[in-house]
Amino acid sequence: MIVGAFAVAHTPQLLIRPGTEDRDLVLRVHAAMGRVKRRLQEMKPDAIAIVAGDHVEAFFLDAVPALAVYVGRECAGSFGPYRYRLDIHEPLARSVVEQGIERGFDLLYTQDAPLDYAFYVPLHFVMPEPGVPIVPLHVNVYLPPQPTPARCYAWGVALGEILRARPERVALIASGGMSHFPGTDRYASPEFDYDRALLETLREGRGREMGRLTGEELDKRGNIELRTWITLLGAIGDARADVYCYEPSWHHGNAVVEWPLDG
């Protein structure tokens, strides 16, 4: 069953803050992530299924999967001085990949790929105590051609059906977003108004409309990572979003959101 649904920004400047980043803004995003952590502790999930887009870390140009599932016993990654080793909920992960393939999604699975910071930056701040095992779900966002938003939404619908049929209490997290353009000449001018309009759509419980966006629009608006949100929205349907924070920095629209599922 699905007991919770969240979206959490993952920009690494939230973990390691260079002098270029406004400290108060970073702390406000941390506070919103702290709320997610408290909610997760109340929900007592058996596992966290986290949908994130690999930043060309696990998957380089030698093999570019559209959708992938980590199914090993554990997974590990590092960023600067940080080292992460996280348990995977193996029966759940295996069931997601087996049933996903049964449903027509040609998923890549891995028992060994490194874990990208898109997974562990949010978990660094929101993992309940004691920790729970995870199911890392990769969606390709950075290496074109990426899966279409419609495909991500359809995968999310299948993922939701699979998770709801399982006995475990599963919390879903979509990692990433909102508008940012790393490495391009748009880096200092994200589309904050676009983000705010999208958040309004989500507050109104119209999440399925995001499945009708085009890949071209996501790229144009600095929102290629919203494929992870769109996947989550496929899984949970039209719940209304509770926006914990939207904090635009000079280069990034940082959002933390919950979709309450209990009423």
Partner: protein, 92 residues
């Protein structure tokens, strides 16, 4: 996806360039060798002299024009900065 996209299909002629940026981003030992002596570190990577010069200067526009993935250029630059000036960062 149109040619005007921010993130484009990575051209195969830039494979080694992207491979080097990937290593700068994800392989700390390599990044340290690069900081110490970029010329020596990039010697046997299948790169052209022009690519190596642009890497040395971390010239984003030139690298992207050569087919480098913009995100890889960005994160390689950030990781090099983190290595070179770790004390200027706040760790949470």
């Amino acid at each position: 996806m149109s040619d005007g996209a921010h993130y484009r299909f990575p051209p195969s002629e830039a494979y080694h360039l992207n491979e080097c940026l990937y290593a700068l981003k994800s392989d700390r030992a390599f990044a340290e060798r690069f900081l110490a002596d970029s010329r020596a570190a990039t010697e046997a990577m299948g790169l052209t002299d022009g690519e190596r010069a642009d890497l040395r200067n971390m010239d984003r526009d030139a690298l992207v024009a050569r087919g480098a993935h913009p995100y890889l250029v960005f994160m390689a630059g950030l990781r090099l900065k983190m290595l070179a000036q770790p004390s200027e960062m706040e760790y949470f």
